[in-house]
């Protein structure tokens, strides 16, 4: 049911564990494969391992910020690690990160030799890269992708960034250069917060924000790419449940990657996510997960295509004993009032904005067109 052909590889499911320190060496990759994921991506492998930055990861209830997550194992060591990673089978995608095409070609060819099943070019990390990340320049991404594609026989996926004005242009460059797929999105440049007693930002420099915070950005990026470029997409950003994964697939993703959730909740979360998707597919009598790909795109319209529904929309008055008053406070048009056990909506004042239907904890309010 969840079997997916992705990058020309047969995956037992479309859930991939993303690049990160949870996949930092052979042993951890093997553990990730054992979690049941369809594939795993190595922590990004670089030309020359840099000094450690400590501390480098922070989190709160909505996600995480990191300021450097690259492999601390040199390419020479990955020959051994790749062997360990693949010793019980499984699909391993090697993530490589560098500043010039020749470096990327070197790393990718080595990893091909060491047994990687695919390459992910990651030039979209927002840390230490200047205001414009490499992946915001379509021409550079084109050069890099083209040279790597020419050098290896493996499928090449390119990880894109939300830190660009036109992600569709970059995805087009990947396709033109012969890339097999794009993954979107990488962590987004941000600062998690500030300790106002000590005037200390959470981490000492700008970092990449991941998790819950970026899912809406990831969904929009995936939708944009799938509406404008004919290239397979791997959705990334804030996936912690089967529902989230399905959302990405409905926006056009062929597969998804999970990173921050694995970091914060462990590898067991992968089994949970897969279970939830299976359950959902069963309930909806779906033979194959591929059937839902792009389903929601039909309902994602451009501004011009949106129909102005009946000029005056109304919220129906409903009996309500919740006593939270969220709807009456939030109604900017003064249309909702409380009367004893009822919430009364004044249809002459209601502008049909829809906010009350989302803010009501009991989901009692509905727009009636």
């Amino acid at each position: 049911m969840l079997k997916t052909n992705f990058l020309g590889l047969e995956l037992k499911n479309p859930i991939i564990i993303a690049a990160g320190p949870w996949n930092r060496d052979g042993a951890s990759l093997r553990a990730s494969i054992a979690s049941g994921a369809g594939a795993v991506v190595t922590e990004s492998i670089v030309s020359d391992t840099l000094l450690d930055v400590r501390p480098r990861i922070a989190c709160d209830e909505n996600g995480a910020q990191n300021i450097r997550l690259y492999s601390d194992i040199q390419i020479e060591g990955w020959e051994r690690e790749m062997g360990i990673a693949k010793s019980n089978g499984g699909v391993v995608i090697a993530s490589v990160s560098a500043h010039t095409p020749s470096e990327l070609v070197y790393l990718a060819s080595k990893l091909e030799k060491f047994g990687a099943d695919a390459i992910e070019i990651s030039v979209s990390n927002p840390m230490g890269e200047g205001l414009e990340v490499v992946a915001s320049h379509a021409n550079i991404v084109y050069e890099m992708t083209k040279e790597v594609v020419a050098a290896v026989k493996l499928p090449v996926m390119v990880k894109l960034s939300q830190n660009t004005t036109n992600i569709s242009k970059v995805a087009k460059a990947v396709k033109a250069a012969g890339g097999s797929c794009v993954s979107a999105i990488n962590a987004v440049r941000g600062i998690l917060g500030v300790d106002i007693e000590t005037a200390q930002p959470t981490l000492s420099t700008y970092g990449g924000i991941s998790g819950e915070y970026i899912r809406p950005l990831g969904l929009a990026s995936v939708a944009t790419i799938s509406q404008t470029v004919d290239i397979p997409i791997c959705g990334i950003g804030g996936i912690s449940s089967g529902k989230h994964a399905i959302e990405y697939m409905m926006m056009g993703a062929s597969a998804v990657q999970v990173g921050t959730t694995v970091m914060l909740e462990g590898r067991n979360s992968i089994g949970k996510i897969i279970g939830e998707i299976e359950e959902w597919c069963k309930n909806h009598e779906l033979g194959s997960i591929a059937d839902i790909r792009g389903k929601a795109l039909e309902n994602l319209k451009s501004f011009d295509e949106m129909k102005i529904e009946p000029a005056v929309s109304t919220v129906k008055s409903v009996p309500c004993t919740e006593n939270c008053d969220k709807c009456t406070v939030a109604c900017m048009y003064g249309a909702i009032k409380r009367e004893a056990d009822t919430v009364v909506a004044d249809s002459s004042k209601c502008m049909g904005c829809g906010l009350c239907t989302f803010i009501c904890p009991a989901k009692k309010l509905k727009l009636e067109w």
Binding site: D48, Q74, I75, E76, S102, Y106, E129, G130
Partner: protein
């Protein structure tokens, strides 16, 4: 104890012990551990010379360095050695003092010592000579641009682009008289940087003046003397130097002349040597990935050495073409040239 005795003690053949030393991955873990344990107990040291005879490998490489006192060359050498060490190789380091004859002589010496490969750092030798080394079946890798020697495995950095970036930065900071002190080594890179300097001045409509272009020794002293000469008449508002060492000397000369960096004269270097973050004011410079240059030099060399013994059956044709690794520079904006625009460095 010799290899035969180890084999006897472990109850295996000499070939198996040899495999443990050379291709341990091909030996059953249990046998391997047993043999390794005996070797450790007996403090067995393999006879490297004999091994060299057997496998036609001495497990040594040669590294030819232009000038040992310059920290940039030593940082590159560290990169080479880090990889060599991991591969179980010894590195012979030869300091040639930027002298072509010494360089040739050292290479002859390395060849008679049967090194498995040679890395030439910013070599001054011509293509013909380097080719003659390769013809003796000793692979060669070049670190640094050399327009006279083409078609070799090379690691290089586009220094012209780096110089253009830093000179643009000086222009953007409002400096309209900018001098350059360019070193005599690395030769090609320094000339490329001079070209980059001229390009930006031309593009920015700044007149190129001979008195602001001074060739100097790539040393602190060279920088000191060059800056003194440049300041003799009308000092420029900013000085770009093709190495950080030259910049240290220039900063010293500026201070000795009773002027201030960056208030009177801004200084920008090239390289980002370790000291550049410690001198006062901290030096604005262009980072050269020294360590990475060494690491890639060694990687290319070991790829050649390892491919050498293998049959050509499954080797891609691509592999036998000379490979070029081109690395990138990065601006490091610090206080020596004022630093309102730190955006490039900050994020």
């Amino acid at each position: 104890m010799n290899i035969k005795q180890i084999a006897k003690a472990a109850g295996v053949s000499v070939a198996t012990v040899s495999r443990v030393m050379n291709h341990p991955e091909n030996v059953a873990p249990k046998t391997r551990d047993k043999i390794l344990k005996i070797m450790e107990e007996e403090e067995y040291k393999p006879n490297w010379f004999a091994q060299g005879l057997n496998f036609n490998k001495t497990k040594t490489i040669g590294l030819v360095i232009p000038h040992m006192l310059n920290s940039m060359y030593m940082e590159i050498a560290k990169g080479v050695e880090d990889v060599a060490q991991q591969k179980g190789y010894i590195t012979f380091m030869c300091n040639v003092e930027k002298d072509k004859e010494i360089e040739k002589n050292y290479i002859e010496q390395l060849l008679t010592r049967r090194v498995d490969g040679i890395i030439l750092m910013f070599s001054s030798l011509d293509e013909k000579f380097i080719r003659s080394v390769e013809e003796q079946d000793v692979p060669v890798v070049l670190i640094g641009e050399d327009k006279r020697a083409k078609g070799f495995n090379t690691v290089k950095v586009d220094c012209r682009l780096g110089a253009e970036a830093i000179v643009s930065q000086l222009v953007d900071n409002g400096h309209d008289s900018i001098g350059i002190l360019y070193g005599n080594d690395p030769q090609q890179e320094s000339l490329d940087m001079l070209e980059g300097y001229k390009n930006i001045l031309k593009m920015s409509g700044i007149k190129i003046l001979d008195e602001y272009i001074k060739p100097v020794e790539n040393t602190i002293e060279g920088g000191y003397l060059g800056a003194k000469k440049m300041m003799a008449e009308t000092p420029p508002r900013a000085i770009f130097t093709t190495s950080d060492e030259i910049a240290y000397g220039a900063m010293d000369a500026i201070k000795d002349s009773g002027l201030k960096v960056p208030d009177d004269i801004a200084v920008a270097g090239f390289g980002n040597a370790r000291m550049s973050n410690l001198v006062e004011p901290k030096l604005t410079t262009v980072e050269l990935p020294f360590h990475k240059m060494g690491v890639y030099g060694a990687r290319l060399l070991f790829d050649l050495i390892e491919a050498d013994g293998r049959d050509e059956e499954n080797e891609d044709k691509k592999q036998s073409d000379p490979r070029q690794i081109i690395l990138q520079t990065k601006l490091r904006i610090r206080k020596s040239c004022g630093h309102k625009e730190r955006i490039g460095e900050m994020f």
